[in-house]
Symmetry: C2
Subunit: 309 residues, 2 copies
């Protein structure tokens, strides 16, 4: 095999109860990375579609950085030509660099005979995050590779936990087309959290995890409260409170901010309810003349990175 | 039926990952409360064994306060004579007032025909905590009534979650016979916690809950870290670091502080390992001339409040 094409999905990180540790994959949206063995020891970015602002230099592009890290670990440098097809905008808060990094890790692994397990690939993909975002957080790349809900406590594969999925749930994601400066989005967070709030948020994480295993929608919905990050970051997102209210009024189970925003998401049950929430969200944004992009995805297992050629 | 006797177990609250929200029942240790309909509308404390310092006045004793709250809710005042047999010391950090409150709630409920479900009893038992400790926290009374691990996010019965138990685990509990002033034990806590620590602790709670459902001992052990409370409260417990080191050296899965201390606990796998950890803990305390009381309990289901007559 001299060539592969891999897909890896967009993701919702900082998933309400789990700042920096909990993420969800969005099955239908994502990036494609095509790799072709080029007979040299170098990796070359030869094409990026829909990502004009992304670097072509192999030491700066997250895909080539990920592949280089894998090659260094293997001690074998089978250089590749890399074509990237971006399936969604960067700066959306939906894990754009992570999807490319995850697809690159997954594709290169299968091109060279799958020397690494999926959880090991996460650690390499995190190197793409380091080059793109400045730190090797894994709460986007872990669900992008594994699919579904993933709880990632550290880069140790033993601490990366694939959680159950409840049937018939959907994610409605809305990207308001505004720019949020990443450093603003970090700066607005409080550095210290009152102990009482911490205790409540820890309890909510516990309730959330148990709701997945117990298939308990009422508890899922109750537990989906972000007491720590949302009160701050929502200030940077236009119409946040209106969108949240409209979603919950239309029986969304949960509403929150994806990653560091500006995208928001609602979790809904059943396709009918999903469409109602989607319409309600669009109405709010239309009334405010806010340009948006929306996505609807079923929450399903095996929705992580995969080969498509 | 004119008379009942109920038992309710001691409990470990603030169970490492879950300050104020996670508790575990200790099956074999606990209080007995005997109730006899006395034909009046008044509740009377007639005897307290092994609890000389506890109040006999019915408006101050946690058992009679709990029963009164149930009577008020029912609008029916079938007064009882109350005898309390304390099975372990108060001030131990093992939920002494909670065990009495839970036994009183459970016993009175069955005496009057079980009008309340078990989770409803928790809210009444919490009134005993209010009178004994100044606030109606439920992280001791909930596991004392329900048994096993209980995650209690609020007094709403829907938010009280009975968690799975992993087979063949034991709790070794050690009560160093010293007095810790409860207000010292509150005061020593930091009021604000750094966001990064919060995120890690939330992730550990998630990993802990999933370990119970997945029956994953390695993850259970890894997740049992208290980054927030233990670094402070352990300062008030003599030989804490030595006991922790000895337990972990002898393959305890976890070690922590019970409630606000001074009791500590180790979680162990299998009876042989349990005995090794128990001996190691005693050795540390003997070497330091520390008087202690120890208990060993299997973690089992259905270990909550029950009738014994």
């Amino acid at each position: 095999m001299n060539s592969t094409k891999a897909f890896a999905p967009a993701t919702i990180a900082n998933f309400n109860v789990g700042y920096d540790v909990l993420g969800l994959s969005l099955n239908g949206i994502g990036d494609e990375v095509e790799l072709t063995i080029n007979g040299t020891e170098e990796n070359r970015i030869i094409h990026i579609k829909n990502g004009a602002e992304l670097p072509m230099e192999s030491e700066k592009n997250c895909c080539s950085v990920v592949i280089r890290a894998m090659q260094e670990n293997l001690g074998e440098f089978r250089g590749v030509d890399i074509s990237i097809l971006k399936g969604f905008d960067s700066g959306s808060g939906l894990g754009s660099s992570s999807a490319s990094s995850a697809a690159a890790a997954f594709g290169y692994n299968s091109l060279v005979g799958n020397p690494f397990g999926k959880k090991e690939l996460i650690v390499f993909a995190a190197e793409g995050e380091r080059i793109a975002c400045g730190s090797a957080h894994i709460d986007n790349v872990a669900p992008s590779i594994l699919g579904g809900f993933v709880l990632a406590n550290s880069n140790d594969p033993n601490n990366i936990i694939e959680l159950p999925i409840i049937d018939n749930l959907f994610a409605v994601t809305l990207f308001p087309k505004i720019k949020i400066n990443t450093s603003d989005s970090r700066k607005i967070l409080k550095k210290n959290i009152p102990l009482e709030t911490v205790s409540r948020q820890i309890g909510l994480m516990g309730a959330f995890i148990s709701s997945l295993y117990d298939n308990n929608l009422e508890r899922f919905s109750y537990s989906m409260q972000d007491l720590i990050i949302e009160p701050m970051r929502s200030l940077l997102i236009p119409q946040f409170n209106e969108m949240k209210a409209a979603s919950l009024k239309h029986n969304a189970l949960a509403f929150g901010i994806s990653g560091s925003g500006p995208s928001v998401f609602a979790i809904t049950e059943g396709i009918e309810n999903t469409n109602q929430v989607l319409m309600a969200l669009k109405e709010v944004c239309d009334a405010a003349n806010l340009e948006t992009q929306t996505y609807t995805n079923a929450l399903i297992k095996n929705s992580g990175a995969r080969l498509i050629k």
